[in-house]
Symmetry: C2
Subunit: 333 residues, 2 copies
Amino acid sequence: MRSKEKVQRLIYEILSILKERKHEGPQGARVIAKELKNRGFDIGERAVRYHLKHLDDKGFTKKPGSFKGRIITERGEEEVRNDLVGERVGFVIGRIEELIYKMSYDLESRKGEIVANISFLDSEDFEEAIITMQKVMEAGYSPSPLVKVSGEGEKIGHDEVPEGKVGVATVCSVTIDGLLAGEGIPVSPKFGGLIEIEDGEPRRFVDAISYRGSSLDPLEVFASKKMTSILNVLDTGSGLILANLRSIPISARTPALDLIKRAGEANFDGVMDVGAPAESLYGLPVEVNQVGLVVVGGMNPTVAVEEKDIEIETKPLELLLDISEMRHVREYV
Amino acid sequence: MRSKEKVQRLIYEILSILKERKHEGPQGARVIAKELKNRGFDIGERAVRYHLKHLDDKGFTKKPGSFKGRIITERGEEEVRNDLVGERVGFVIGRIEELIYKMSYDLESRKGEIVANISFLDSEDFEEAIITMQKVMEAGYSPSPLVKVSGEGEKIGHDEVPEGKVGVATVCSVTIDGLLAGEGIPVSPKFGGLIEIEDGEPRRFVDAISYRGSSLDPLEVFASKKMTSILNVLDTGSGLILANLRSIPISARTPALDLIKRAGEANFDGVMDVGAPAESLYGLPVEVNQVGLVVVGGMNPTVAVEEKDIEIETKPLELLLDISEMRHVREYV
């Protein structure tokens, strides 16, 4: 990395730290320097202060009081969002890896936090929607049948459910990656795409986007282009659903199979198939020394609701949710 | 490649050949074997006949008459579309490289075929639409101000313009790649994305998808997700438009700059910027030994029309069109 880019990257990291800690109030140079060290930037407090002064001048940060501590401004947040798209091509992966690392659910005790998607829909649509979601979940086209439902005014994740709406939290497929990582199995997201189901069996990916090559979430792209036919799969056994290709080291194949079995018993059964070593899976390439894993998309239940022309807004990879807050979908039907 | 995959690939190629030659009527085993050889499959006529018989049984091909020649069926075309997504992750690039290779336009004589996108819209929307397209083109946010307009019943490309519709052919940005390739400058598509324009100047890519990692055309994704704000750019000088990042070898930078100048004089002025050697361009990475080129998206004029809530269906990378059939957009306003 040339030094100009190094500085740009450093400034980006400083702003990201301030953005992440916005709710904790002003942050001083010492804290920031410490966090930068965690991120591989070993520079002293004085250097951090020097950059913070520049950021103040640019209007990206400011001192809220007479303290040394800085907070990020709106312009600063905008800058973080748009800066370094080069970094953000792969942004989704960054977000996924962060959630995998943070998620605390433990398969032994069946306690802790999983990764959830959050959806909002009109109250009057809820009954039809939840029935559809249950069908998708019990057909095995979602990572888990567990959901959390919140009525208007209640909190779901960071947000309060708006008037006239219902909030539904569903299990994100990244939870499966988290379970693998929890047992020391390194898993990497490769492709998000559309897999063709024929007579109830997965046949092949018909479209795919690489997680490494995109600043958008591949599954959000396919969902918003309305390319799925999940209701068809429910009715006729054939159609297109959202799925991911993950990959793990060959040596981890046996422990992974064992974990997948135990996860299934704990209501996490999103793995559709595990490939043979270094073998392409349903038409997508898998690297040498790797084994492919096909995981169903966590958005399938809510996208199926959209296929019914019910308005539902879904935020994938939204937050960590304690499993104790979730119930089996059938309890809501 | 294992033999099972080899056969699958061979069958895919046979179907592709029949699909490409659909308009030429039934194709015999000899022609197919010859074309297969061009594609690196050196198998005899008898082997081709053997596979064709299987394809007939599967309903992918059929004999239209008592001749030996086969044509592809609808099911067969569907099969080609869906098969080998592993190949098709990067499919768009294949299509682009094919068009670059086939396009015959010569900058000296200003004769030959360019690469065009085709759009269809309702006749009554035409006037407002063409005015919008002209604004986008004359503001420099399209690869060329040249268009072809066809009324109902007339042919545009392979299709006849349906009743009550108008067909509009616009210059695809791949034409610029073709001009570079025509002078022996190897150009490769890297990213399609959204570039932020500020006070009339490009500032940075805010989102991007790699051509190598996607089975969908990145620009079609951004267009269909309605993420652009081209009308804003026209009104206020600021907003988001579609653009590509291409790259060429460092050694080709000077000849490329010269070509871009001459191309501009011939109404092809789609290159927004040429980077410095090996330097990232507007936030997107460029490989060592390469120079980045930012080319405006050919769909900007039609996407701007969509932003006006006018229904317009656009097929990018649609066909090769003789330049003599095209006129400056202002002749239609």
